[in-house]
């Protein structure tokens, strides 16, 4: 991507299943203050634009963007909301900076999922009101449909899916942000409560609360502000069909095409050799494998065996979800791109402590917006600018 943009600061709160002592505004304020400090910003007044990623029904407020500016220092500043993953916010900030009209842009996303008391009902409310909603099917069942088809076409197995859970929850032990680290066996995963066959309870990420704030800047400001700017080399985002009837179940095109778009920008010809590590959506365990294959990291049906051979482990050839992923840390829904970006920055800066990878020059983060959507986004981060 020409016209380079870098992340110069990050701030976040400790993820926890419950956060009764703070309001969402207070939680975001903590993350913002930390991010501005990390970016060495003299004042929040130096920020030219703000982007929040949020959905009304998750917040419980219509037109939620009303409540976004104060806690970020965005009062009377250009600010808007994106209904997308935090990575969609990153892509938005990148574009705004590339226009030349804004030098420094802040991106925020948060989860207060503990305050949402009817989450599955709300997700159900995202389905087509005429064709799908009257069937009254729990929307997680759509993930089961997807999984069934994925296993059938790719010949990956239930055991492979269980191994994803085991790996990510094991990785989470080395991440102080994690809420769901655990030592498990294949049998324990597959024998956990059967929810939406072939899905079992342990194959689905659990919601946690947390806030993420990132400061992005153009090349000139980035170099001035931070000794270790992390460069955004490519952003690709794609929506497939929202209807269950016409989407590309077999090819997972939202991941495939978003990857291709990001590779093109980053001038990556061979993602298998040019990317060192991956933070990939694993809302449901099979999704990690499905997404890796769609992104071209593995050929169809090859990711499962690679996983068994240790290739996705921190010391493997394709370290994936070293952070523990959303299975190990917890899911923040549309803020999950924040967890992935934090891990990217820590690894690329060399600040990942006990889980620091030996080789971490370029990393790929991929988010999916969850059921019932087919929207995905790939962002490629690097220690080096274009």
């Amino acid at each position: 991507m020409s016209n380079s943009v870098a992340i110069v600061g990050m701030g976040y709160t400790s993820p926890r299943p419950l956060t009764p002592e703070v309001s969402y505004k207070e939680m975001i304020y903590e993350a913002a203050i930390k991010a501005y400090h990390d970016a060495n910003l003299p004042s929040h007044k130096d920020i030219d634009g703000f982007v929040t990623c949020a959905e009304d029904f998750i917040e419980g407020t219509s037109i939620f963007d009303e409540y976004t500016p104060d806690q970020l220092g965005g009062v009377q500043k250009p600010m808007h909301t994106i209904t997308g993953d935090l990575l969609h916010g990153i892509a938005t900030a990148v574009m705004n900076i590339q226009t030349g009209q804004q030098d420094i842009v802040v991106v925020e996303a948060h989860s207060k999922l503990s305050n949402v008391k009817s989450l599955d009902h709300i997700t159900h409310y995202a389905t087509d009101p005429i064709l799908t909603r009257p069937l009254n099917v729990n929307p997680h069942a759509f993930a089961a449909l997807d999984m069934q088809r994925f296993l059938h076409v790719s010949k990956n197995t239930l055991k492979h899916c269980a191994e994803v859970v085991i790996k990510n929850k094991r990785n989470a032990f080395k991440n102080d942000l994690s809420c769901h680290a655990q030592n498990l066996t294949v049998q324990e995963v597959l024998d956990s409560e059967e929810t939406f066959r072939p899905l079992t309870h342990l194959q689905k990420a659990s919601p946690v609360d947390g806030a993420f704030v990132f400061v992005l800047a153009n090349a000139k400001k980035a170099k001035k502000l931070n000794k270790k700017p992390i460069w955004i080399r490519g952003c690709g985002w794609i929506s497939d069909s929202p209807s269950l009837e016409t989407r590309a179940w077999d090819t997972c095109d939202y991941a495939k095409l978003s990857g291709q778009m990001a590779y093109r920008q980053a001038k990556i010809k061979n993602p298998k050799t040019q990317i060192d590590f991956f933070e990939i959506d694993d809302t449901y365990a099979f999704k990690e494998l499905q997404h890796l294959e769609a992104l071209g990291i593995y050929d169809k049906g090859k990711s499962g065996n690679a996983l068994l051979n240790g290739a996705l482990d921190p010391d493997g050839a394709m370290p994936t979800n070293v952070s523990g992923g959303t299975l190990g840390v917890g899911t923040f829904h549309d803020a999950s791109g924040g967890l992935r970006t934090v891990e990217m920055i820590k690894q690329l800066r060399g600040e990942a402590g006990p889980r620091q990878l030996k080789k971490a020059n370029t990393g790929l983060a991929f988010s999916w917006r969850g059921v019932p959507t087919t929207s995905g986004i790939t962002v490629i981060y690097s220690r080096k600018g274009a």
Partner: protein, 163 residues
């Protein structure tokens, strides 16, 4: 210009020319009030209106917050404000949200609270006043619920009346 779009009338539904599906959102929330609003609501339960003072901006605000949105500092002090104020603006509202008429008009107002910096108020409702007598700038006082009825909610103040 040939514009698309098919406007419907009530009779299209009555005579079955148009079909509809119905559903109701089942959306429930329990919002954490946090430090700032939590303490504000606790204050209301005790019959007090609390604000916060930012030293750096020399500004006392209500509703209170534990950080100042202008300077982004968290060096704030809690202040007990008065339960009197002035009407900044008001309306005499004759309709409900579904456009039906109300019997007695609602009287929403923005009330600048005494003790807060000028121009800082809250939204609430007026009563014990004839609509024609309400004026911008009028002094008003809070009418509280009885202590045992208060529950830590903005409705612990029933309404505001002329002072």
């Amino acid at each position: 210009m040939n514009l698309k779009g098919t406007p419907l009338k009530g009779k299209d539904f009555e005579n079955g020319h148009v079909l509809t599906t119905k559903s109701r959102s089942n959306a429930f929330y329990a919002w954490d009030t946090g430090q700032g609003i939590g303490k504000y609501l606790q204050g209301l339960k005790e019959g007090k209106i609390l604000g916060t003072y930012c030293k750096k901006c020399d500004r006392t605000v209500v509703p209170p917050r534990v950080f100042c949105e202008l300077c982004m500092g968290s060096n704030i002090e809690w202040r007990v404000l008065k339960d009197t104020g002035r009407i900044n603006t008001f309306s005499i509202c004759y309709v409900n949200w579904d456009a039906s008429r109300v019997e007695h008009p609602h009287l929403p107002a923005v009330i600048e609270i005494d003790g807060a910096t000028k121009g800082h108020g809250i939204m609430h409702v007026l009563d014990e006043v004839a609509p024609k007598d309400i004026k911008i700038g009028m002094k008003v006082k809070a009418v509280w619920k009885r202590k045992e009825e208060r529950k830590g909610d903005i409705t612990d103040i029933q309404y505001w009346k002329p002072l």
